[in-house]
């Protein structure tokens, strides 16, 4: 009995060790892959229309979901925020509450999560399917490097799209909060904007938010192209790669957000 339990424990430990090792190996591989993408980026600049095309797929096609979500998140924030602030007679601080929440956190993070599931998964599926149907192989045989022709433009398209989407998300959110706070509830418009401007700092809040969205965009784009490129060339392989992109991207965004927040807003006395 005890020897069985011991064997079971050994088994679990072995599994755990193997899993950790596999994870670290994959991380190393992904890093090497990311460097290869960067190395192949001049090709993406030379063929600028390819990158524009990917910017269209990653950016323009994500617009609707980003704008609508931003608007609703802003409106809900305004309702909830007002409900709390009014208890302390601080309802005029609604503008700054909403703006700071959006610009620092919700804009980059929620836009990043939406971007991962809307554009990231599409990128993975597309590259994975191209691999499964030997299109990448065919390209290689035609002496065209898929890294330069397929992967790099998608990476840059995603990287450029993400900060713009995050900024649009925040903007629409603030607009939504304005609609609810000022137009619906009747907070003074001057106080709404004035408090916001007095309390939101360009460098500390807005710029840090933009930096966050850049980092998230890079992470999601790398993960998306990587998962697609290493997907098993089968239907299940592509579908599991797509799922993985969404899961891994989301967790990465949240973890990075924590790390970045610690660095950015430390020592502010906040």
């Amino acid at each position: 009995m005890t020897s069985a339990a011991f064997l079971g424990l050994a088994h679990v430990l072995r599994r755990l060790g193997a899993g950790t090792l596999a994870f670290i190996t994959r991380l190393g591989f992904a890093t090497r892959f990311a460097l290869a993408v960067i190395r192949n980026s001049p090709a993406a600049v030379r063929r600028i229309h390819l990158t524009l095309r990917e910017l269209y797929f990653a950016g323009v096609l994500s617009l609707i979901i980003i704008l609508v979500s931003g608007l609703f998140v802003g409106m809900v924030l305004a309702l909830q925020g007002y409900d709390v602030l009014i208890r302390y007679g601080a309802d005029e601080s609604l503008g700054i509450l909403v703006a700071l929440s959006l610009v620092r956190e919700l804009g980059p993070v929620v836009a990043g999560l939406l971007f991962a599931s809307r554009a990231g998964s599409a990128i993975t599926a597309e590259i994975g399917l191209m691999k499964a149907t030997e299109q990448l192989s065919a390209m290689e045989m035609m002496a065209v490097d898929p890294m330069a022709r397929v992967v790099a433009p998608r990476f840059w398209g995603g990287l450029i799209a993400m900060p713009l989407l995050a900024a649009l998300f925040s903007t629409l959110g603030i607009f939504g909060a304005y609609l609810v706070g000022v137009k619906l509830i009747g907070i003074d418009a001057g106080a709404f904007w004035g408090n916001m401007q007095a309390g939101v700092d360009f460098r500390f809040d807005v710029l840090n938010g933009i930096i966050k969205s850049f980092v998230f965009g890079t992470a999601v784009s790398v993960i998306a192209v990587f998962e697609g490129y290493v997907a098993k060339p089968t239907a299940e392989g592509v579908s599991s790669a797509t799922t993985k992109t969404v899961v891994v991207s989301s967790l990465t965004i949240l973890a990075l957000d924590f790390v970045l927040t610690v660095f950015m807003f430390r020592g502010l006395g906040v």
């Binding site: 399917l129 191209m130 030997e134 065919a138 045989m141 035609m142 002496a143």
Partner: protein, 280 residues
Amino acid sequence: MPDTRLPVAPAASRCPDIAVELDNVTFGYDARTVLSGITMSIPRGKVVAIMGGSGSGKTTILRLIGGQLKPRSGRVIVAGQSVPDLDREALFEMRRGLGMLFQFGALFTDMTVFENIAFALREHTELPEEIIRDLVLMKLQAVGLRGTAPLKPAALSGGMARRVALARAIALDPMLVMYDEPFAGLDPISLGVVGQLIRRLNDALGITSVVVTHDVYESLKMVDYMYFVAEGRIVAQGTPAEIRASDEAYVRQFVDGEADGPVPFHDPAPAYADDLFAHD
């Protein structure tokens, strides 16, 4: 890479008359050995068929020639260069002179038929748009599908897609074209047309063609030389006339289409009875 000079190629491979040479090549995926000592030489300007059962490693041979796979041992020499020893740049340089029709077409699904065929032209040449247009339409006309130029590959039937892929393989007028199952999924009429097309292209442009196929009758009509692959080896070879006359068991099995013979129908596996009663 350390400077490991390649062993000097044997006399035959430096001879300009040989386009492709495989010398005692072995290869396997992971633990599974697929090729165990393949030797073949493909003369310049000829149409050579590689025949063999399903899973015998024909596609693998083409990938070795194209440098997508590296042999475990043996030499792969294309136009006098040892393919496994080429660095990436040299490999890509070599591939520009190479056309390949993939077994499953591998058309780019996000581009139209026209864009598919124009792809290599756009990537590797600076030709003006009108000339690209003319070239693409010429290739499409050759496979009888000029009307499909604006369609996406998804809108094509299997046989049509294969012909488009064929047109794409020859878009750059390569010196060596490898066709992986060009006849699969074609109706008897297009089958004959494609067979003749391969032959005509070969003769008119002086290219070398490697045709992987199951179709003995069609290949007997159009090729110059045939190799039969089974169990990772070349089991028979010869000109069509020799093949027709041959009474080697492998060849007869193929030509006559018999299920039983030296080429096993079954993939290697434990004895059937053992598998069935394995749960006991």
